[in-house]
Symmetry: C2
Subunit: 289 residues, 2 copies
Amino acid sequence: MPAENISQGPLGIIAGNGALPCAVAESLIASGRDVHIIGIRGEALPAIQSYPHTWIKWGEVGKLFVTLQGHGCRDLVIIGGVKRPDLANIKFDFGAIKSLPFILSLTIGGDDHVLSSVVRYIEGKGYRVRGAGDVAPELLVPKGRLTGKGPSKDDEADIETALRVVDALGRLDVGQGAVVAKGHVLAVEAAEGTDAMLERCAELRKRRVRRKGGLSGVLVKAPKPGQEERVDMPAIGPNTLRHAASAGLAGVAVAAGRVLLADREATISTANELGLFLVGLDWPPLADG
Amino acid sequence: MPAENISQGPLGIIAGNGALPCAVAESLIASGRDVHIIGIRGEALPAIQSYPHTWIKWGEVGKLFVTLQGHGCRDLVIIGGVKRPDLANIKFDFGAIKSLPFILSLTIGGDDHVLSSVVRYIEGKGYRVRGAGDVAPELLVPKGRLTGKGPSKDDEADIETALRVVDALGRLDVGQGAVVAKGHVLAVEAAEGTDAMLERCAELRKRRVRRKGGLSGVLVKAPKPGQEERVDMPAIGPNTLRHAASAGLAGVAVAAGRVLLADREATISTANELGLFLVGLDWPPLADG
């Protein structure tokens, strides 16, 4: 969607955890657009308080829409991870009770189903849900090498193998990542998340003999085909690089333009300090051959 | 290989951990064949001492071949898992030192490479390495339902999805298993092993809301195409079922004739007690339409 299509009024940012909500806000403000952050309590960082903001609790669906309306937000970005809330302990407000049939429908099906249902529901109320990469494209990982170090020949072979795994899994609607070291697929990401997968790799490699000094192996991350990228785009940040280093990996390679960089400077400097490479790969891998 | 091809002399069983080495021994003895178990210290269970046996330590390659020769074993089965030994702390005997170039060659490449190299090395010395399922076919999971309970319609859909994941991964030489619940791929096995994957699923599901009583989801296990099945055949046992139950799964489905059952009676009774199903699936899934 071209930039001139952005409607007037501040951009509403529904904020989960991590640095991305503030990064989106900064980027929008720098380009002259107002924002209003709606932080989910227990999820969003206190840092959102540096921007125009409102706190809501899980279940305050009515308050969410009143806030959006009150501030004239028609465009929304939903960004930042959330812990899965415990439905049993949520206090629903009146707006939520009106939405109960919808909320109950969310209890069926996988995560992707939930996310796309939420988007459809919000859009049904006349709002437009936009991707963070769409409103703030400079948050996307660019093509090419971002670090002093680049992948070695061996790393490139590992990237190739991991890409094949991620691509095959993506077609089956699974995962966003894989770890390959010396041609050996150490781990495949499904529902556990990238950090948990990297921690597992660190454990695995501790138990192994063949760790001849030096880092080896790569993490590859890319979206699934058909993934609801507006609300579920893969993201990496300094922590991803720290976990990758703990797992003894040589670097991280992600789909350029399809993965968000939570904190560009800190991510790149962390990679450089740890001696890891970080590259943006052509994506999809086989197009434009 | 037909049974009449089995050479004379006792079958040598190189024993790692778990119940399978003794199960193979029992099966062979019942069919009138002698065995000699060579237990790896720190790996094989003390139960091997009920059979003719010799203990060896990691690194005692010379003693291994002297033992095989002394007992007239020409056919070998290598069975039971091993923790990956710490090469730095192994004391190599003279026989091993002669094999040092071979042992060093093992430090390069993935697990499959190591296993097939070991098989080639042993066969190069005039021994014949046979699969446990080949000498004791009754240890293989048969086709069909083994438990009181069978898969529900939903479970069958989950089995179908998991089969597609395992099949796609197998073609990329990854993993032997996947867990799917309500159409959602919870976990994919790579290097961590089935038990670790199931523990992860248990953790994941603890953190989720949508656990509406009742068990749901399946573990599917099958060999990779080209897997060295003689020494690396997938196996399940009572513990697999216990882990599956902890992960809230409804059952376990494995490739019939291609997965070993470590302790048939205990595995089936554990499944029945826990209310899980256990089935052997046609394998490969798409052959013989």
